[in-house]
Amino acid sequence: MEEEKEAVMVTPGEVLGRTSDVKAGRGAYAALHNDTVYASLTGFRRTLPPAPDSSDQYIICNLQRPTIEVTGHKAHGPVPQPGSVVIARVTKVMARTASADIMCVGSKSVREKFSGIISIYDSYFDDRQQDVRATEIDKVEMHLCFHPGDIVRAHVLSLGDARAYFLSTAKNELGVVSAESIAVCASMLYILCLGATMVPVSWTEMQCPLTGQIEQRKVAKAAS
């Protein structure tokens, strides 16, 4: 089947084909009781040629089935999935964990709030290093890796528990990408964190450009 020149609009429940001829892609579903593929969204029908390396279990006469999909006009916000790289803002740092609000998934910003948790073992060591430095695990402290307000790049380990996604920064290119220093305005009655954006100086340190003070962070290696 060739790519259709003219886009056909469909509504939910419309028959798109037989399961023996086509596969149901996004916006479509296959009903097993009568072997029919139906649309599940309102939008345009598109026929995608079969992937050359797909292992189709219903191959009949060596003919691979094209995938049929329906693209709707509503774009849903991105949702973090295991394996995706996210940008998150640290909200709370505890002894062994840090909480963060996920702001971007890949390059797309999220529409609603997703919270994540970075555990100390997931923050500092990747598996290899963890083995090497197993005796020094206790030396690492969460507040030497992150501070509230830091922007981190993290990897989604799993969907986590009911509360939060489990995140990891245990890779060179993961960790704090932007942080503000705790430069203090002394003239005020209250201690006020003015905060200047710090410059990374090593993979564990960042420096304040105003005061020259060095702070500890788990710094992400900048993408070259």
Partner: protein, 241 residues
């Protein structure tokens, strides 16, 4: 009382198998993910759909499929002075449940685990058949929100008065106390998702009345489909494709 005149016309001048004028509009609530207004004659309802979004109450989260919630309400001005004596919230709760169950049957909830879909329907003007109108409005709003569905659910009512099957009862016919069958179907799949009846009806007549309601549902489905396609066309046009 005479509900069908000897000439074969009903109180509002319709034929027994005639439906009221239907009108639908998509995108009535811009803040919602999907919304619609649906009118059946003088009955007018508005529906707004939010979601799929994160479950607000964690204890209600279902890890295998989406949680569907529905809230039905009637505007205070909807029935005018004809408002029956306030019956508390029983009727609204029941209709909320009915709409929720009907919509749940058509939403592909297993595709949206751990999320929640909120459907709000409000009756702006009540003239019989609010249940059907609410379901039709909710279907349109869900389709507008881009939530995957098995099929469009549509609903229509039918009754039996003066030994005549009547399609799409209005308030006057509804309060006659005769049998009132509300039917919800998946028109393309030919499945019934909702069947309710007030009062009694001989079993051999039920078949006829139901068939009439099915015809009504299918007519509504065709109209809803037209509206959806027109809306998609509009959006594409505005996008300049």
């Amino acid at each position: 009382m005479e509900y069908v005149s000897p000439e074969g016309l009903r109180l509002d001048g319709r034929r027994p198998m005639e439906m009221r004028q239907i009108r639908a509009e998509i995108g009535a609530v811009s803040k919602a993910d999907g919304s619609a207004i649906f009118e059946m004659g003088n009955t007018k309802v508005i529906a707004a759909v939010y979601g799929p979004r994160e479950v607000q109450n964690r204890s209600q989260q279902i890890s295998s499929h989406a949680l569907v919630r529905c809230e039905y309400s009637m505007a205070n001005f909807s029935a005018g002075d004809r408002m029956r004596k306030p019956k508390g919230d029983r009727r609204s709760t029941e209709i909320s449940l009915v709409i929720r169950q009907t919509m749940e049957a058509c939403i592909l909830t297993h595709l949206l685990p751990r999320s929640q879909i909120d459907i709000y329907v409000q009756v702006l003007q009540a003239d019989g058949g609010t249940r059907s109108a609410c379901i039709n409005a909710a279907t349109l709003a869900l389709a507008d929100a881009g939530i995957p569905m098995r099929d469009l659910v549509t609903s229509c009512s039918a009754g039996y008065l003066n030994s005549t099957p009547l399609l799409d009862l209005n308030y006057g016919e509804d309060s006659a106390g005769g049998p009132d069958v509300t039917l919800g179907i998946l028109p393309k799949l030919d499945k019934v998702t909702l069947l309710q009846m007030d009062s009694k009806l001989p079993i051999d007549l039920l078949e006829n009345v139901m068939q009439l309601a099915i015809e009504g549902c299918k007519a509504i489905a065709n109209y809803i489909r037209e509206i959806l396609l027109e809306n998609t066309n509009q959006l594409e046009y505005r996008r300049g494709v």
